[in-house]
């Protein structure tokens, strides 16, 4: 049974077709780069996998079951935007994650949050954008999820924050889980990918192990990305 199995996925925004018969299968134990330029459907695909979009055609199975409570309890999602209430503080956010997610490691989350030199009673709305993104990543990676879905975790942050994010992802990753990470900043992250999935025209253009891709093309992932989307 595959961790993620998508068949003939279609989704439209009004008259604009974003996903047009997409097929994708992902297995456990890989870090997968979901690659493509802006507007190709990366975020839409991730939202469908995580249950934020229900108006689609086709089949999406997570661990053999359709998207629902079961899949949400094993998927840890990091969206592009901050989803905590501005008036929420770290302690209450931890309480919420502890209540709703059985796989949430409260101690790990607290330790990682303290590493950021944050006061547990500090309101999230008073933090800088970069700090909010780091904090959100801490919460997401503190779960023992089977699938981590990270939507553009490196976008709009400074290089130091980018390093922190990559370090956190790698240090918290285990071989029992998979990470699906979308980005168009391929150069910064290609070294962590096991597999690359390229989207084009609403479909999967290429789904290949990164080592094999590099060997076959003689190019880095970033170079190949620029070639494909020129």
């Amino acid at each position: 049974m595959s961790l993620l199995e998508i068949k003939n996925l279609e989704h439209r925004y009004g008259n604009h077709t974003v996903l047009a018969g997409l097929h994708l299968t992902l297995e456990e134990g890989e870090i997968i780069g979901l690659l493509g330029p802006n507007g190709v459907g990366k975020t839409t695909l991730m939202k469908i996998i995580c249950g934020l979009i229900q108006t689609y055609d086709g089949s999406v199975l997570v661990n053999g079951a359709p998207v629902g409570i079961g899949s949400k309890s094993i998927i840890s999602y990091l969206p592009e935007r901050t989803y905590f209430r501005k008036s929420e503080n770290i302690r209450s956010a931890i309480g919420m994650f502890r209540d709703f997610y059985a796989d949430f490691d409260e101690k790990k989350a607290m330790e990682m949050a303290m590493d950021l030199n944050l006061d547990s009673k500090q309101k999230i709305g008073t933090m800088s954008k970069g700090m909010q993104e780091k904090l959100q990543l801490v919460f997401v990676m503190s779960r023992r999820a089977k699938l981590f879905v990270l939507d553009e975790p490196l976008g709009g942050v400074d290089p130091a924050t980018r390093d922190y994010i990559l370090h956190t992802i790698l240090s918290q990753y285990t071989e029992n889980s998979s990470i699906l990470l979308s980005t168009h900043l391929v150069h910064d992250v290609e070294q962590i990918f096991d597999r690359a999935v390229f989207l084009k025209n609403g479909r999967v253009f290429l789904n290949e192990q990164v080592d094999i891709l590099r060997a076959e093309t003689g190019m880095s992932l970033d170079q190949y990305f620029r070639e494909v989307y020129r």
């Binding site: 934020l52 979009i53 229900q54 108006t55 409570i69 949400k72 998927i75 209540d99 709703f100």
Partner: protein
Amino acid sequence: MLGKVIKHDLRACSPLYGVACVISLIFALAAVLNRSGNNDFSYLRTAPFLITGCTVAILVLVILFLVHTALRYQRSMYGDEGYLTFTLPVRATELIVGKFIAAAVWGFIIWLLCGLLCFSILYGAVAPSATEQFWNEVRNVWAMADIRNTLLLVATTLLLGILEQIAVIYLAVTLGHLPCFRRANGILTLVFYFGITFAEGKITELIPMLSQDALESSLNYMIDLVDVLAFSRELQSFFLPSMVAILCFTVIYLVISGILVKKYTSLQ
């Protein structure tokens, strides 16, 4: 999971409602304590201000509650917070019901406070020298079962009306954020809110006991009545079917909202 949804939604609203309730309570207590002296003249200097304050507090509480209920639901379901809400391992039904119960709890607290403020307005307007007379009148009125029952019916209907408004707001926001509407969701929500209210009025008129003709006939009859007890009994015959209708509409709105959220969520 339902309990957890209720717990976190109650907590999310507590800072704002807590402050509003405390301020209202201060006005209510001040209006009552203002009468503690025996001097009618000194009491009159501050009574109008405090009674006005209590009146304004009622208006602010009601408007604040309705507006905040709409904003809270919109933000937590269709704003950035929705990215967390819809990824929680919680059924759509539990989400809607949990949020409704949390809003209903705050609605009940505000209903109680409004009742206290109404009492403060009445009591605060009574001169200190007339205190004993006031309480005698209250005891006399409360002793009459028909009037007591009518007052309780009216209060209960108001409470149910608050709960129904929560359900109308939820349905209006849900309809205004359907995937087919990509823009102007706020305006659409308002349109749906007034549309649902209008449609409900029209459907209510089809119920014989609550039709326009029945209402006018009852009102004319009540105006002609000299007997207060008969008047209150006539009022009960109107409020009882109203309560049933309100409860039915509330359930229908929540069910439709749940179905729409389950099938048509699409966070942009």
